[in-house]
């Protein structure tokens, strides 16, 4: 029983990070129909920016996170304005190629700027806590809590603010949104900014329990794509559910099936869900 709960906790903490990354990805896809492969690179740069301002400027972890959120949001907006926006009338294939291009560029840039070494982000939340016989580090608890807080804030923003509603309107029906006078450029900039911000937040949360290196984004982005396909491309509840589902499935799969098939579980899950519900759990559009 202890093992079960411990693995559930492990799965949820991994799932939280997956979810945050998948949320940004699914929003960009839902609103702009761009499969943003560069999202993993935003995640990676986000981790490096946090680490750099923490070590060079000596900023506190949370302050550094906010800084990084703004930097990566701007980076995402920049990539939209410089790359995706000029391609808005091109075919999806070109979007995809552009996305992979940005990914490779950012990865190479990180290697030039920070080197190929593995880095570690030290925080003061490294202590072990025991709750109900379970072992967990403070950082993992923080990930769990912060993910929920960020999701709640996103929900509030999309539901209760005018701009948020405009984003949803845009995702539901582009022409309709244009007709009622929603500015497509503003929405696209905002969507990219939010997605970048989420990536930076996720990276900053996950880095202290992981290592920082130029290829770190690839690990997460693969899983994030699986999640948004499982959840229904463009669906926010789908990304949340899919993220936790994948995290927990991985950790239980490793425990009760076999550790050797851990990586396959994501794809088996994908096959099963697409067989039963070909459009994903929450098909269609941003809800």
């Amino acid at each position: 029983m202890d093992l079960f709960l411990q693995q559930l906790l492990n799965g949820l903490s991994t799932g939280s990070v997956y979810t945050l990354v998948a949320l940004g990805l699914t929003m960009v896809f839902g609103v702009l129909h761009i499969p943003n492969f560069a999202h993993g690179a935003f995640y990676m740069i986000g981790a490096y920016v946090t680490l750099t301002v923490m070590t060079i400027l000596g900023l506190h972890y949370w302050v550094a996170m906010i800084f990084s959120v703004f930097v990566i949001a701007s980076l995402a907006v920049l990539s939209d304005r410089l790359v995706y926006h000029p391609l808005r009338n091109a075919s999806p294939l070109q979007h995809m190629i552009a996305a992979v291009g940005i990914l490779l560029f950012l990865e190479a840039l990180a290697q030039v700027l920070w080197g190929a070494d593995y880095r570690r982000m030290e925080t003061s939340y490294d202590d072990v806590v025991h709750i109900f016989g379970l072992t967990v580090t403070e950082q993992r608890l923080l990930i769990l809590i912060a993910a929920v807080v960020i999701m709640a804030a996103l929900h509030w923003f999309l539901r209760k603010t005018m701009i948020g509603s405009a984003i949803i309107a845009m995702a539901q029906n582009r022409e309709g949104a244009y007709l009622v006078g929603i500015n497509a450029n503003v929405i696209s900039v905002l969507t990219f900014a939010i997605s970048g911000a989420l990536a930076a937040a996720a990276a900053t949360l996950a880095s202290p329990i992981n290592l920082i290196f130029p290829a770190m984004g690839n690990l997460v982005i693969m899983k994030a794509f699986v999640i948004i396909i499982i959840g229904g491309m463009g669906s926010i509840p789908g990304a949340i559910l899919g993220g936790y589902l994948l995290g927990v499935a991985e950790s239980f799969g490793a425990t009760y099936i076999s550790g050797d098939y851990k990586d396959m579980i994501a794809f088996v899950l994908l096959v099963i869900i697409l067989t039963v519900k070909p459009t994903g759990l929450f098909p269609g559009r941003v809800h």
Partner: protein
């Protein structure tokens, strides 16, 4: 709707392609994958200044200089480069009355054996190199197919014993083979911590081979394996669940390994989850790098692994560590040290053989070269070379006890 479905299909296809290339390169790598995406990158050291009457001898290198394994490849290259520059700055070396300077030609193979093969061919045909350093088993095995015919010596920096089984007359195995370690590791760990072993190596060919060498030794000594899996450092974002499962079987000792930093993280997580036993660490992970990433040797208590280079007592050790660290601004590890010392041995062998471009004669001069190695360039005690071309080093093993490095003496070869 149709558009979205089409896009979904497209994304799936790309995803599949990504994961396939990931698997492809990973199955051949020994540390990491995904290198195939980068452009070819050529890193050359500056051509040495040649005075009148001096000649240049080209020494080749083919290893990962981009992609996830770049760090490792760079460390190896740094060692060779440092030796080459030292030799050039001290006026080169003399073979049969002719002074030579070294021009190191480094090519990036992204850790892919097929690229190593191409690079080695290029080096021999365009640069006429008679020695090519290759720091990974896949690349070595690929080049062993044609190096005898094309006449060049492979400076093989890999602890994989299989490279010796090819009976290749022109291969020099630089580092100690890992088949030396299992007995010493097992003996120490079993005596100190107990007989229950959980095996969690890196999911690469190197990791599998290491495990296959270790497990029989452990069982022969009366131990049992209570849990066995692999950790794929290229795919897994979090090792917590794997470590939790391993610890659930109540092991006394964990066998871990892979690149230093992620391996250190696995150990850290095991300790966080309450593990109090010992760790046997594969030779790819370097104690000093692990201590650096975790913030001190006290975080590594209970581990046995390869000895940090600075713990050697050879005449050249201290000087090498100091010079290397001030020059490259990073920790000196065995990767750089072994290759540094090897280039000096090769140079001595060329002197002894009286030629810089006849590989067979150079090979015949290796014994002499090892004897003539200047004392101050000896970082590890090099005892000789086997019939099969492997350097003979005494085992260099150390453990960490109470936050201190303890040298484990062994007389087994």
């Amino acid at each position: 709707m149709v558009k979205i479905r089409k896009l979904q299909l497209l994304v799936l296809t790309v995803l599949l392609a990504f994961s396939l290339t990931g698997c492809l390169s990973q199955s051949m790598d020994s540390t990491s994958a995904g290198g195939g995406k980068k452009n070819e990158e050529e890193a050359k050291t500056e051509t040495p200044e040649v005075a009148e009457g001096e000649k240049v001898v080209n020494i080749g290198y083919s290893g990962p200089l981009s992609g996830p394994a770049a760090l490792y490849g760079q460390n190896v290259l740094n060692g060779i480069e440092m030796a080459a520059k030292e030799i050039n700055n001290s006026g080169g070396f003399k073979v049969g009355g002719q002074t030579y300077k070294i021009n190191l030609v480094a090519l990036d193979d992204k850790y892919l054996p097929n690229e190593t093969g191409t690079n080695a061919k290029r080096l021999v045909q365009e640069k006429d190199t008679s020695i090519v350093f290759i720091p990974h088993s896949g690349g070595v095995l690929a080049s062993q197919v044609f190096n005898e015919k094309d006449e060049f010596i492979i400076g093989a920096y890999t602890s994989e014993p299989r490279i010796e089984k090819q009976n290749n007359a022109l291969t020099v195995g630089i580092p100690p083979k890992y088949s030396n370690y299992p007995e010493m590791f097992s003996e120490y760990a079993m005596k100190k911590f107990g007989k229950r072993l959980a095996v969690l190596p890196t999911a690469t060919q190197y990791g599998k081979d290491w495990t296959e060498t270790l497990v029989p030794v452990w069982k022969k000594m009366g131990g049992e394996v209570v849990y066995k899996t692999e950790i794929d450092f290229n795919k897994e974002t979090d090792f917590y669940s794997t470590v939790t499962n391993a610890l659930d079987k109540k092991p006394d000792v964990l066998f871990v390994g892979g690149p230093s930093e992620p391996t250190a993280l696995v150990m850290k997580q095991a300790k966080q989850l309450g593990f109090k036993g010992g760790f046997m660490v594969m030779d790819q992970a370097k104690m000093e790098e692990m201590a650096k990433v975790l913030g001190g040797y006290d975080k590594l208590n209970g581990m046995i692994g390869v000895k940090p280079v600075r713990e050697n007592n050879e005449p050249g050790t201290a000087n090498f560590v100091k010079t290397y660290e001030s020059k490259y601004k990073k920790l000196a590890t065995s990767e750089s040290a072994f290759n540094y010392q090897s280039l000096y041995v090769f140079v001595e062998a060329m002197k002894a053989a009286g030629t810089v471009d006849e590989p067979k004669k150079i090979m015949a001069g290796m014994d002499e070269g090892i004897k003539n190695l200047p004392k101050e360039k000896s970082i590890y005690p090099l005892e000789g070379i086997t019939q099969k071309g492997g350097f003979i080093w005494p085992p260099h093993v150390a453990a960490v006890e109470d936050g201190k490095v303890v040298i484990i003496e062994g007389d087994k070869k």
